[in-house]
């Protein structure tokens, strides 16, 4: 506190406040870890007898439950410990840019998937290094670039690490199946849980009501 009055950097302070509210609790890491694990275990649903429409229903439910868990975690676990804040207009605008970028990549990805499924793209048989580079390119497009942009706008470096894991997991899919996503998801989930439990320890529920 001694240096604050003279050397305070308001931009850094705002960033610190944003980070403490949005990313320091580990919920985002848990969210990504869970998503990766769902993608990793999905191909094994056949092995346990879940096929056809039930496969789609279960997979979709699990994927949709991830953002729901994120929202509920924030509302019922984080907010009672951290309090409520409304950020400035500039921060809200930055947030909106993130939402638009993510929406753009989801739409672009779905278009590409649709074209590849309907044979809109020419089929080329690739092997060896070229096949790996193709998968790596897909990984960068699906995970590396969008997550890196998300990391930049959210000011959260962990997401760069998640982006690398996502791209690598995608790149080895042709050789090792979904094992990459299972391993990556486990690493990210454990990381998130460590941060989360540390957060619970550092920020217990307040003794009195905040009113």
């Amino acid at each position: 506190m001694d240096d604050m009055t003279e050397n305070i950097d308001l931009k850094k302070l705002e960033k610190k406040v944003w980070k403490s509210f949005f990313v320091q609790d580990g919920i985002m890491d848990i969210f990504f870890g869970f998503m990766f694990l769902v993608l990793g275990f999905r191909p094994f649903l056949d092995d346990i007898g879940i096929t056809g429409p039930w496969d789609a229903i279960l997979s979709t439910s699990l994927i949709l439950s991830a953002p729901l868990l994120f929202i509920l975690g924030k509302k019922f676990i984080i907010t009672p410990r951290m309090g409520i804040v409304k950020f400035s207009r500039e921060r809200k605008v930055k947030h909106m840019k993130v939402v638009i970028l993510i929406a753009f990549f989801i739409i672009a990805t779905n278009i590409i998937l649709f074209l590849s499924l309907t044979k809109g793209f020419p089929r080329v048989h690739l092997t060896g290094l070229v096949l790996y580079l193709k998968r790596l390119g897909i990984g960068l497009f699906l995970w590396g670039v969008p997550l890196s942009i998300l990391a930049y706008f959210l000011d959260y470096r962990h997401i760069y690490f998640i982006a690398v894991l996502g791209a690598l997991s995608e790149s080895i899919y042709a050789y090792a199946g979904s094992i990459g996503f299972i391993v990556s998801g486990s690493i990210i989930l454990i990381m998130g849980l460590v941060i989360f439990f540390r957060f619970l320890r550092d920020y217990p529920l307040p003794a009195e009501e905040s009113e």
Partner: protein, 110 residues
């Protein structure tokens, strides 16, 4: 609290430092409210590290000075108090920072 600035003719004139904001705890509170739109009591407590009683005492002084507004609203059907720096408070903080910069620039020896 007063320090001095010098005009082109080398004459001293006083630069006033707002003592209300200058107190470290209140400075922290105002700085945090300055960078957000509004925040509740618990959030400020967490960010500043102040105790409940301490924060409450400082908030009362800032409210009495007309720098912050207390907005009572309902969040999930529960009453909630949000605190925000009003225009006067923002202006006072900007002037305080300006004054401090000026005061530090005027120190001999740089």
């Amino acid at each position: 609290m007063t320090t001095y600035e010098h005009d082109a003719g080398g004459n001293q004139s006083p630069v006033k430092i707002d003592r209300l904001i200058h107190e470290p705890a209140r400075f922290l509170i105002i700085a945090h409210l300055y960078v957000v739109e509004s925040a509740d009591f618990l959030f400020l407590m967490r960010q500043t590290g102040l105790t409940r009683g301490n924060l409450s005492s400082h908030m009362s002084k800032l409210e009495a000075a007309g720098y912050i507004e207390v907005v009572k609203e309902f969040v999930d059907k529960k009453p909630h108090t949000m605190l925000q720096l009003n225009d006067e408070g923002r202006k006072a903080f900007q002037e305080y920072r300006q004054s401090m910069r000026q005061a530090l620039e005027d120190l001999p020896g740089g």
